[in-house]
Assembly symmetry: C2
Homo-oligomer: 276 residues x 2
């Protein structure tokens, strides 16, 4: 599982406060803690950096990027709904730190986002997160999301962006208003896995449990089912030890970890099951 | 999910001590606590009673059965590897308490177990747990377990035991020595579900995590995957709140709980997410 570590995000109240107060220690601390976990995961991952600031979004991101780079070389995910902020963030990391790896998070079928981002991504090796929405918003059906996916893959092909660099967020929506559970999103995942096995299936795991009590249990159960459907990348909290342990356990159960060597190794490394 | 509540079992050290000391309060306490959870589960369940005593196994079971019946009317699972002890336990509950419902736990393809148990089960409405092993032991392959299953179903049919009364334990083995995860047992489950959709797929969930650290996380991940493969019955600890919450969450995710009403109801009833 590729970990896209979610804790440095201005949409989280404590992180928003740290950004507003320019509390450098907060940023460094969570960058380091998350990087430590990512280092212990075979598939690796990215530290997501999203300032979520209305005025001066890029300046805030830049401040965060420098702090992350003070404490770790872990690849970074530059995260903004604004493609231009992602471009600036990526170019900043390439120029100042020579980052050859990272995640452009994100583009979607909205407006001209593909045409704005893909020509630049065509020139480097960064990964890219694609959200399966378009100008009509979040499609209600699997068929429509698959249509957005197919169009995105066509565009990526035109620009020579390899499948293995692409992460798809099929858009995980809250379970509490669903009449058929996660059947629709599993259908989208199955289509992706079948037709583009090298594309990474990703998503923001905790969206599933919005408005429900004891969210962590819903997140855990969803993660297991999504991994079974092909999810191999996820925006999640690597400091949530139970979730991390369940991810390692699921990889073992799905036959991706012979004799549970990775599971046992991650436990010994303190990624789960231990008070730190 | 049909809950087969596992805590009254002489193979658990604290319960073995309670049986040896004839500590009636211990038995009553766990009978009541488990029954309270089972009452809150739509599919219901059974309180498993297994004395696991070498000498006087039935007498110890009888003592336990009376104590359980002092505190609850919840259906009981009479549990012994000895078919005759199960028969005696079932008949004791039928005669003394008029129990029309219960679980005969278990029979298997070993020796003449089917022919010993099925004629008696043909006369009542009790459920029966069938283990997919035979005189050769625990079959190594899915094909061989399916063979035992098919033979068992043929026998059950001869005796007029309906599919809906049958729980199959496909034999969950420890993950730590597996090279391909749970692929084999999932194959067995898929065969059962496809060919006999009314048969309950069951098993002892915690066997999966034997010899691994942080067993609860492996048990949870396994339970989710097994439910996805069709498991709808399980020998498990209903007092494990995280496991119970994950079971309710998984039912919602699999589309069996519209708008999460059962999940939310179980949370409100204190089955998970609350310190009791």
């Amino acid at each position: 599982m590729i970990i896209i570590a979610e804790k440095l995000n201005g949409s989280i109240p404590s992180c928003a406060k740290a950004i507003a107060d320019r509390d450098a220690n907060y940023i460094r601390e969570f960058a380091k803690k998350q990087a430590d976990v990512i280092e212990g995961v075979e598939a690796g991952g990215f530290i997501d950096v999203c300032s979520s600031v209305k005025e001066g979004e890029f300046e805030a991101m830049q401040w965060m990027l420098d702090l992350v780079r003070e404490v770790t070389d872990c690849p970074i995910s530059v995260d903004s709904p604004d493609v231009n902020v992602c471009i600036k963030g990526m170019q900043y990391l390439e120029e100042k730190y020579g980052d050859k790896k990272g995640l452009f998070n994100s583009v979607s079928g909205e407006g001209n986002k593909f045409d704005a981002a893909f020509p630049i991504l065509a020139k480097n090796k960064w990964d890219v997160m694609i959200l399966l929405c378009d100008d009509t918003g979040i499609p209600k059906t699997a068929a429509k999301r698959i249509e957005v996916f197919d169009a995105a893959m066509q565009k990526a092909k035109e620009y020579g962006i390899a499948d293995s660099r692409i992460h798809i967020d099929p858009l995980i929506e809250m379970l509490c208003t669903s009449e058929d559970g996660i059947a629709m999103v599993v259908e989208v995942m199955s289509h992706i896995k079948k037709n583009h096995p090298k594309v990474h299936i990703s998503g923001a795991v905790s969206n599933i449990s919005f408005n429900l009590p004891v969210r962590k249990l819903v997140n855990i159960a969803f993660t297991v089912l999504a991994m079974n459907a092909g999810m191999d990348s996820g925006v999640l909290d690597p400091l949530n030890q139970d979730l991390m342990g369940v991810i390692f356990a699921t990889e073992s159960l799905l036959g991706m970890d012979e004799m549970c060597m990775e599971y046992i190794g991650a436990y010994r490394a303190g990624i789960f099951g231990q008070k730190k």
